[in-house]
């Protein structure tokens, strides 16, 4: 369903890649946990699947299609087949739960008759049939995430990407969200969930992929959050050097003598395209915007 073929992604010239020589495949109907510290490349993988960013090297295949060969005007069609859920829900604050789900259908031109049929069905599936008229701020965190999942699933995508969907929720609410994702998975959708939620991974016992510094260090079927594998950082078996690494560009004299950095990498990162620099700038701008958006939200509440 999703295949990374020797994929490397470097956001900024002279910096360490966000993901490096990634070779992994997720099959149809699988439920995969991506675990690993912040900055280990989980989100970059998801962005590449959505073609929000393109790999510096290597190829990403989604549903058998090479993403680099999909022209920009066909990207929307690709995204209609992929649902995405975020840690911060990303609901439209001025629209009700019903309207938020409706929005996802309306903007791709779904006929009104179909919308009227699909939205209540989705609300029922996520257990919010009586709360469709509530605005996001009138819903609890768990309920907001349910609306977000309904919005992501309403087009019946064959892939659902969830970026720390339980990160902002208390354990018992998180459990409910996880059950919902499991239900969606049972209906045949491939679910890829990036998470730091140990109890979620342990409870589900599905495939676990651990990333460290942009590389897969563990790929375990039916795994737990922690493992005895020696390369696992989150299990405390190896110190995490990825954060330290990310802060220093390659030309930092301190880094020159690092044994685990083969010299060929110096060349690899130098052929980063300007486009990637623009990507990086946009990513930073988005962060700034998000900060503003939060302020806005607070103002609206007042």
């Amino acid at each position: 369903m999703i295949r990374f073929d020797n994929v490397t992604k470097t956001y900024m010239r002279g910096q360490y890649p966000a993901v490096e020589n990634l070779d992994i495949e997720f099959s149809r109907g699988e439920f995969v946990f991506l675990v690993g510290a912040s900055g280990s490349g989980k989100s970059t993988m998801m962005r590449m699947v959505l073609k929000e960013t393109t790999p510096t090297r290597g190829t990403v295949y989604v549903a058998g299609r090479d993403l680099s060969r999909i022209s920009s005007w066909r990207v929307p069609a690709l995204r209609r087949d992929i649902g995405m859920v975020f840690q911060d829900f990303r609901l439209l604050p001025s629209k009700t739960a019903y309207q938020n789900i409706e929005f996802a259908l309306a903007v791709i031109g779904t006929p009104r008759k179909v919308v009227r049929h699909l939205v209540p069905e989705m609300l029922e599936m996520v257990g919010l049939e009586d709360k469709g008229k509530r605005l996001p701020h009138e819903l609890s965190g768990g309920e907001q995430q349910r609306v977000a999942i309904a919005r992501a699933y309403v087009n019946r995508p064959s892939i659902l990407l969830a970026d720390e969907p339980t990160g902002n929720l208390d354990p018992s609410t998180a459990e409910g969200i996880l059950d919902l994702l499991a239900e969606i998975n049972e209906r045949g959708t491939t679910v890829v969930m990036a998470t730091h939620d140990q109890s979620a991974v342990d409870r589900m016992q599905r495939r676990v992929v651990e990333m460290v510094g942009g590389k897969v260090v563990r790929d375990e079927e039916g795994g737990l959050y922690e493992t005895v594998a020696s390369a696992s950082v989150i299990s405390g078996n190896l110190p995490d050097d990825s954060e330290h690494r990310a802060e220093h560009p390659l030309d930092d004299p301190e880094d020159q003598g690092r044994p685990e950095q083969p010299s060929e990498e110096h060349q690899d990162v130098s052929d980063v395209l300007d486009e990637e620099l623009i990507d990086e700038r946009d990513a930073q701008l988005d962060q700034v915007d998000d900060a503003f958006a939060d302020d806005e939200d607070e103002e609206e509440r007042r």
Binding site: R79, R90, L92, V107, I108
Partner: protein, 305 residues
């Protein structure tokens, strides 16, 4: 679903940026008014030149008994003098300039005179002998009247040579200069309008960042995401174009038809409110096209889909 959604988005967009939208409307209206003024002045010039071609552009008046010019010292023009003018007009020297001419005898001149001043008491005091013989010449090229005028000016028996073009020339000159001035201002204002549209779109995009992010995520097409912004700019520009047409109507109705035409004569001033039938659609379309062009450019910059 789509149409309703897009209409809704346009209205929310316009309402959220109401101050910017008003400034876009005003700047567009003013610039398009200048454009319209320029267009109408050029139309006036074209009409005037056409009239000149239709009418005889150069007229030679031969001496009448009442002429006071030096060349008329011998009294009314003799038959020989009339004949020599006729021969000169038919001759090889002037043939490159003259398309056709038309001789008006003193009898015909009297008839026209009597028609023009019908009802006035003094008309009956004149006889055909008081009237000059005249030649009305249509030139091949209205701009080359000087050669013909020079040829006949001061000849014996020729009282006066009038050149309609040289009479109109200062007026056409003023109109041409004014057109340049109006178009210059229009270009400046249009640049301001385009930049304002770009800024408005940018603010609109920033305001709706969240919606846009979700639209991209769920796979809305690029055109669908952009259409509300494009139409938002176009709506503002079209309102500007309508206001510009209104201002031109006021100018044409009160200034041109109410004051200029009665002062300078209805034959001279041909533009009027009726010209808005073609000018208004041109202005509104120009406003819409420019604003959409500017929107496309700024959307490419600020809205990466």
């Amino acid at each position: 679903m789509r149409a309703r959604y897009i209409l809704g988005e346009i209205f929310t967009g316009l309402w959220r940026n109401i101050a910017m939208v008003i400034s876009v409307v005003i700047v567009t209206a003013v610039s398009l008014t200048f454009v319209g003024t320029g267009l109408l002045m050029q139309k006036q010039i074209m009409d005037m030149k056409e009239t000149l071609v239709e009418q005889s552009q150069v007229t030679i008046y031969l001496c009448s008994p009442h002429s006071t010019a030096a060349s008329c010292a011998g009294g009314a023009a003799t038959d020989a003098q009339i004949d020599s003018v006729r021969q000169a007009l038919d001759g090889d020297v002037l043939s490159p300039y003259i398309a056709s001419y038309d001789e008006r005898t003193s009898d015909e001149a009297l008839t026209i005179y009597q028609e023009q001043f019908a009802g006035e008491g003094f008309v009956s005091n004149f006889t055909a002998e008081d009237m000059p013989v005249s030649f009305h010449i249509t030139l091949k090229n209205a701009d080359e009247s000087a050669a013909v005028v020079e040829f006949f000016q001061g000849r014996d028996g020729v009282d006066e040579v009038t050149d309609l073009l040289s009479a109109f020339a200062p007026f056409i000159d003023v109109l041409n200069q004014s057109t340049l001035f109006a178009l210059g201002l229009a270009v400046l204002m249009l640049i301001a309008a385009l930049l304002l549209v770009a800024t408005t779109i940018r603010m609109s995009v920033a305001n709706r960042r969240r919606e846009i992010a979700i639209m991209r995520l769920v796979g809305a097409s690029n055109l669908f995401i952009r259409l509300p912004f494009l139409l938002e700019g176009a709506v503002a520009a079209i309102i500007g174009g309508v206001i510009a047409s209104g201002m031109l109507w006021m100018g044409l109705h009160y200034l041109v038809q109410g004051w200029l035409a009665p002062t300078l004569g209805n034959e001279l001033i041909t533009v009027g409110v009726a010209d808005l039938i073609w000018a208004a659609p041109v202005l509104i379309a120009a406003g819409a096209v420019l604003s959409i062009a500017s929107s496309v450019v700024s959307l490419n910059r600020y809205l990466k889909v």
